[in-house]
Amino acid sequence: MSIIVNGEPHECAPSSLAALLTDLGYGDAIVATALNGDFVPADARGETAVADGDRVEILAPMQGG
């Protein structure tokens, strides 16, 4: 299936949002996630399924004003 991660399509079939992060190499990185515009807390990623066409945002600390 195709999942849009940070605006880019990815062909993959992860068992959960947590698995997707592991597959993409985030490992222990400090990031926050959203699925189709809704926040997904870190402790809910393992039980959050991702489906074909889903939009995932993976954000990290960045400079800001």
């Binding site: 990185a29 990031v31 926050a32 954000l59 990290a60 960045m62």
Partner: protein
């Protein structure tokens, strides 16, 4: 001492962390500004490049409090989701709430701002709304639960200073007990001093320091201006008058005609 949501702060200068020539210069500028709070943001992270992890390391080494923003959000939904993500990553209920209306002026969408502030406050956030000097909007934000207001001085990054001194003075008079922070649009330290002389509790700026030829020196200059402006406010400055008033005593002057 200034208190922002039960948190006492020494410094009345809040600094942004963006647009510096390098992370090292940013860190030096933050130290030169002697500030207690810096603003930060969230952006897309690559699983391999991990730029955000390095930045977060820099900020944590500074050992100061962070105020995450929702910069770039144009809808209530975007701003609320971004705030929720920021709370988890940065471990703070504080959020500098931006809901932007117009791309040219970056002026706040005040209707969306009030709605987002209400949602976030109910969800346990401590909201610092980036707003205008409009009294009606400010009242709505306070009703929504905001205990700090952050009106703009001028459009973000414009370096114009205080565009509406009358409006800012009115806001200060209308809300004597709410911490008010002038956020955005300042260009030079005298702008910051002017805001503090009006009785504003603090100023928040980024571009004026980060894009200066020497950001570290400019951070120091702003720190002094903020302190000078605050002292002047506390010292109860004179009201301007139209006619001269001699400072040297007239009584006892020699008659030499």
């Amino acid at each position: 001492m200034l208190k922002l949501y039960d948190h006492a702060v020494e410094s009345r200068l809040l600094l942004g962390t963006a647009l510096y020539p390098s992370p090292a210069i940013m860190a030096d500028a933050v130290r030169a500004a002697r500030c207690d709070i810096v603003t930060v943001s969230l952006r897309r992270e690559s699983g391999t490049a991990r730029a955000g992890q390095d930045f977060w390391g820099f900020i944590r080494d500074l050992g100061i409090r962070v105020l995450p923003n929702t910069a770039g959000c144009h809808t209530v939904k975007e701003a609320v989701t971004t705030a929720q993500m920021a709370r988890e990553v940065f471990g703070t209920p504080w959020v500098k709430l931006e809901v932007i209306n117009d791309a040219d002026t970056l002026q706040p969408d005040v209707f969306g701002l009030v709605e987002a502030a209400r949602i976030l406050t109910k969800d346990g956030f401590q909201v610092f709304p980036y707003c205008t000097e409009d009294l009606g909007v400010a009242e709505r934000l306070v009703e929504a639960g905001c205990e700090v207001l952050m009106p703009w001085g001028a459009p973000i990054g414009s370096a114009r200073g205080l565009n509406n001194v009358y409006g800012l003075r009115s806001l200060r008079a209308h809300f004597p007990d709410i911490p008010l922070i002038v956020d955005a649009g300042l260009g030079v330290p005298s702008h910051a001093a002017a805001a503090m002389e009006l009785g504003y509790d603090a100023v928040l700026l980024n571009t004026a320091v980060a894009k200066a030829g020497d950001p570290v020196k400019m951070a120091n200059a702003f720190a002094r201006a903020v302190e000078a402006g605050r002292l002047a406010f506390e010292a109860d400055p004179l009201e301007p008058r139209d006619m001269a008033a001699p400072s040297t005593p007239v009584l006892g002057k020699a008659f030499l005609e």
